[in-house]
Amino acid sequence: MNSQTLWYLTRATGIVALVLLTATIVLGVVGAARAASPRWPRVVTAGLHKNLALTATALVAVHVITTVLDPFVSIGVVAAFVPFASDYRPIWLSLGAIAFDLLLAVLVTSLLRDRLNVRVWRAVHLLVYACWPIALWHGLGTGTDTKLGLVLGINIVCVLAVAAAIWWRLSLSPSRLLKATGAATMAIAMALTVVFVLAGPMRPGWPARAGTPPALLGLALLPASLG
């Protein structure tokens, strides 16, 4: 398997993992709201939520492995878990490491749920609401294909799906304060994401501004005005 294949697999598994993580969150929100129907009982929602999370984690593992194996950029195993351990787009790669750590924490505590205090498990489980946007920003900032219509479309659908699920969940809450806070947080997060995409990855010179090492960009050969 050559470097090119690894690169494409890294991108593809990352994108599909985000889609699965999105579906996992939507199912989690539906399950938390105890929504069910005769044709779609809660046990199916809970089972799918768990299995989708495991599948997403497996894909993230493949994403990490192909990244580490790709010889083009020197991203070590440590950088997959520890933020700022690589000099390749350090901020955006670190977001991936943080998202991976959060995902592992949620996964491990869920597998050990019977042995944990419910409050502890729930507190850790809510971290997934931080994991998902961090993973999204990691993909937007690190990915070199953010401009591609297909990838951009997938990201938009994922954002809208999670936003709709959270909005629906908030609408069921009796607390007006929670509704207002949640809606405001969501709106700000979405606005920041749109601004970031338009001002960052969609603009020329993003790889240089994102922190791609000059040796990879060939910046030594480019005019200083670039980026």
Binding site: N2, S3, Q4, T5, W7, Y8, L9, T10, R11, A12, T13, I15, V16, V19, L20, P41, V43, V44, G47, L48, N51, L52, T55, A58, L59, D70, P71, F72, V73, S74, Y88, T142, G143, T144, D145, T146, K147, L148, G149, L150, V151, R203, P204, G205, W206, P207, A210, T212, P213, P214, A215, L216, L217, G218, A220, L221, L222, P223, S225, L226
Partner: protein, 111 residues
Amino acid sequence: MRSALQNAISRRDDRLARTRRLSVGIATGATLASVGLAAVLGAAIPGHASTTRTTPGNSGSPADGSSGTKPTSQRTTGPSRTGLTPPTRHPGQPQPSSGSSGPPVVHSGGS
């Protein structure tokens, strides 16, 4: 009473089996989607190993690390289309010097 219990167990087993079938289907679909998406990306954008001669600063040029908006006619895709071989240079190694007077050779940004 026993019949009701058996019915409940049967329903539960059916639901669990349905969940398993759905999960296996989704996992298979995700695997196929990953491979398919990798192929689509391979056809749509240049990998990090592709090189092209381009005017610096063009929007969507490989210098931006993403050529998704670049016209197909100008796009340089993977080695199979260009005949270019992936660089064996490690990121830490120095850039090979270029004596040509033409536009610079630009590597796209990587993964």
